[in-house]
């Protein structure tokens, strides 16, 4: 009956969301939770059908394992109370070991499912290439699995819940349905944000009544997201598909333009989706964590990754980077290194090892492919370089009397970071690593402006008008970003204005989408880019 391609489908925006909102608005609190859960499972079912068992299994298992951990913890406390101080350490160690076993089992289970479903085809095909290379006459059958939607997102949520219970940051939840809602809440199941139990579970369960302000703010944010996606991301799609599909036939200049366009598309698609997701949740009075914080104002790559796909970054930081770099062997390494190479470079070594792991995971999380891995390594390299070079830059700029806080220096940093990000996205999008490298090379070896002079540039999928409207829309978004950067809440400002002006804002957004949206004959909407990760 339903067929959702993305949150930007009529099915979601015209049916599922409004119907859920209406039911939610008129039912008592206890029923509201049920409405959210039913809508969530309906949504999942509509997209992935029977594969919903994976989600159900994950939910059941974290519920069970969470309680298991909690039993061990209470056991431990009881035992500690009755033992003398000298023996406590021993008991602690014993229980820690128990908990670790449980955690290892849980992590292997959840990450194992994800790895099996997502990476066996990649692994198998690489094994085959290797056998081929070594002239071994065996070939592994390449299996293919149907991936349930959002598995890369909810698996991370599941693991974070268990880790938080294990670390006693949160108590294990007795309530299976609260966990189910935390795992499957429909606006975020497909593309995140990756939530923490402590952030959203209780908010969702509370199911507050709908407030007028939340409703209007939510709708505004949804409209803004739809604008980003339909006016910009979808309009860029044809050009990007054409050039990335057949990069051989375009010169370096076109590739450069398209590289920037793809970065813009990725940002607009993903942050537009996040606007829609967070806006949807806001209608229900749920505050989801932000996933973007104007990433293109970043001065360094490391800062960029704190402002782009934030929830993924913090997940990796909290559950991979710090545990690794603070683990005993690496701590010892740090201590030794600090004595030899000083305070700045000492921690860098163990940091680098942990960072390396993070970026291998980050690259592979995006997909099973060598170019994703390359993408991860590229950013790992950039961040590491940035950290190694940093003290020298500080010294150099100090000697040259360059004001590191001056506007132009900041601007230079921002532009540089932007360029580095664009290059990374080129490899990210390229169909295979080799094509990516070819395209990159072309920007230097085959750079001419002829397509701009003879106007051919405007025949590759976007004409002058398309470029113009994308530019105008980007200016609007840029202005909004500057306001946000200054900490001004635009929606609160709008709410304080007279009704005519408020209406004008809605009308402008809606009509801009109706007129300038890239839908209808001749347009192919972007597949939800992040949903396939």
């Amino acid at each position: 009956m339903f067929h959702f391609q993305s949150y930007f489908s009529v099915q979601y925006l015209v049916f599922l969301l409004p119907i859920t909102v209406i039911l939610y608005a008129f039912l008592p609190q206890k029923a509201r939770r049920v409405v959210l859960l039913v809508s969530s499972y309906l949504f999942f079912w509509a997209i992935s059908g029977k594969l919903i068992v994976y989600l159900l299994f994950s939910t059941l298992s974290i519920h069970h394992i969470g309680l298991w951990l909690s039993r061990i913890q209470t056991d431990e406390e009881q035992r500690l109370q009755v033992t003398v101080k000298e023996q406590r350490k021993e008991i602690k160690a014993c229980f820690l070991k128990k908990q670790r076993m449980v955690m290892a089992f849980a992590v292997i289970l959840h990450i194992g499912i994800l790895l099996t479903l997502k990476y066996t085809p990649f692994f198998a095909s690489n094994v085959n290439t290797l056998f081929d290379f070594l002239h071994i006459g065996i070939s592994v059958k390449i299996p293919s699995f149907l991936l349930p939607i959002g598995i890369s997102f909810y698996t991370l949520q599941a693991v974070s819940y268990l880790f938080d219970v294990y670390r006693r940051k949160i108590p294990a939840d007795q309530n299976l349905f609260r966990l189910a809602l935390f795992m499957g809440f429909f606006p975020q199941i497909m593309e995140g944000p990756i939530c923490r139990y402590s952030d959203t579970a209780h908010q969702l369960w509370e199911a507050p009544s709908i407030k007028w302000q939340n409703l209007t703010f939510g709708i505004q944010r949804i409209l803004f997201g739809v604008m980003k996606k339909m006016v910009i991301a979808d309009r860029l799609n044809l050009l990007i598909q054409n050039v990335f599909g057949k990069p051989q036939s375009y010169d370096g200049f076109v590739i450069m333009i398209v590289m920037v366009c793809y970065t813009i598309q990725l940002y607009m698609d993903f942050s537009g989706t996040m606007d829609l997701v967070i806006g949807s949740a806001q209608i229900f009075g749920v505050k989801l964590p932000e996933n973007f914080q104007r990433p293109f104002f970043s001065r360094t790559i490391s800062e960029f990754w704190k402002r782009w796909h934030i929830t993924l970054g913090t997940w990796f930081k909290d559950y991979i980077f710090y545990p690794l770099s603070m683990s005993k062997p690496l701590k010892k390494l740090t201590a030794r290194a600090r004595k030899k190479v000083g305070n700045h470079f000492g921690p860098l070594l163990s940091g680098a090892i942990a960072l390396f792991c993070v970026w291998v995971c980050n690259g592979l999380w995006h997909g099973a492919g060598w170019h994703y891995l390359f993408f991860g390594m590229y950013h790992f390299g950039l961040i590491l370089c940035g950290n190694i070079v940093e003290p020298f830059v500080v010294r150099a700029t100090g000697k040259l009397k360059i004001q590191r806080d001056s506007g132009w220096y900041r601007g230079m940093q921002i532009v540089r970071t932007g360029i580095l990000v664009c290059v990374g996205e080129l490899f990210f999008r390229a169909e295979g690593l080799r094509l990516g490298l070819d395209m990159f090379k072309k920007m230097f070896t085959n750079f001419t402006l002829t397509t701009l002079h003879d106007g051919k540039l405007f025949s590759f999928g976007m004409d002058r008008y398309d470029f113009l409207i994308v530019f105008v829309a980007l200016i609007v978004i840029f202005m909004v970003s500057i306001w946000q950067e200054k900490g001004i809440s635009l929606r609160a400002q709008i709410a304080a204005k007279p009704i005519a002006l408020r209406y004008a804002v809605y009308y402008t957004l809606i009509l801009a989408i109706v007129i300038f949206g890239a839908y209808g004959a001749g347009y192919v909407p972007v597949d939800p880019i992040y949903a396939s990760f």
Partner: protein
């Protein structure tokens, strides 16, 4: 009190939005039925330029329809006037739009529905956009913001362009398709999507209301047609009490030679195939006794001009 106030403000908001959409629709609707004016599918929409109440038969459908039926050939032989409103990959949402458009100025007595389009699943988005476009054409023509000019603001809609081929699209070349067994009898019945059935119902009742006879026609195609589809349409036609003609089962009347009469391996017919289908169709139309010969009617003088151009054009192409 707060609820009343909010209710009223929401209501006024939507009224305002409706007014804006109506205004924009006036602005964006193509002012003529030519590509330069922003009209889509001009060969099919050429019907909008035809003189009032001059078309006897319209044909709806996808590419099967406009490659298989040549209205000018019918006119030459019988004096009946037909127009093919088929478009490439037509979905029934657009079929319905074309039907309504055709009946604005015309009152055809026979509506022929080429059956291949009935199996093409209408996407929900298309259906909703089509529904919205019924009220606000800005949803369909929004992309014209690129070519708006002064004329769009003050201009009235006036369709002036006529198509000398009356919707037929000439195809030549031969690429034979040798699937002789494609009509092997079976009891299987192909499925028709629910939404599509809904559209067919609407199309049928529209024809009934306007006194037109709906006829299902399956043109020859080894790629698109088979017996289970035949069964499905047979059933549908019986339910709706429509006529159904499947040319794939009439090799004696429509002797398609799959070695010569198709340009893409049995998918579509070329000109020689189209002549065979049209020859059958004009006899079929004659038998209905609903239509009159307009060849000596002075009101149809323009059709003779078109016929001359059509024949010259075809002769040129056949060389």
């Amino acid at each position: 009190m707060v609820y009343v106030k909010r209710g009223i403000s929401v209501l006024t908001f939507f009224m305002g939005l409706t007014i804006f959409l109506v205004m924009l629709s006036f602005l964006f609707v193509p002012k003529n039925n030519m590509t330069e004016f922003g009209m889509e599918e001009v060969t099919a929409n050429g019907i909008l330029g035809e003189k009032e109440n001059t078309i006897d038969v319209i044909v709806l459908g996808d590419s099967e329809s406009y490659t298989s039926i040549s209205p000018m050939h019918i006119f030459k032989e019988t004096g009946y006037t037909a127009y093919v409103c088929g478009t490439s990959g037509q979905q029934l949402s657009y079929t319905k739009t074309m039907l309504h458009r055709a009946f604005e100025k015309q009152s055809p007595k026979i509506v022929i529905m080429e059956t291949n389009a009935i199996f093409r699943k209408v996407s929900t988005v298309k259906a909703i956009v089509a529904k919205l476009s019924d009220f606000f054409s800005v949803f369909q023509y929004h992309n014209r913001w690129k070519s708006l000019n002064l004329n769009d603001i003050k201009g009235k809609v006036k369709f002036t362009w006529v198509n000398d081929f009356k919707g037929y699209q000439y195809r030549d070349g031969v690429s034979s398709g040798m699937d002789k067994d494609y009509m092997k009898p079976t009891d299987e019945v192909a499925g028709i999507p629910l939404l599509n059935l809904n559209y067919i119902d609407k199309i049928k009742s529209f024809c009934d209301e306007n006194g037109a006879q709906l006829v299902f026609l399956s043109t020859p195609s080894t790629k698109n047609w088979n017996y289970s589809r035949h069964n499905a349409i047979r059933q549908l036609a019986d339910e709706l009490s429509c006529e159904y003609v499947d040319l794939n089962l009439l090799p004696a009347e429509v002797p398609i030679n799959w070695n010569r009469d198709t340009y893409d391996k049995g998918d579509h017919l070329n000109y020689s195939g189209a002549v065979k289908v049209t020859n059958f169709l004009l006899k079929y139309l004659g038998k209905t006794q609903l239509l009159t010969d307009h060849r000596s009617d002075p009101a149809y003088e323009k059709w003779h001009d078109s016929l001359k151009k059509y024949e010259a054009d075809i002769a040129e192409k056949l060389k």
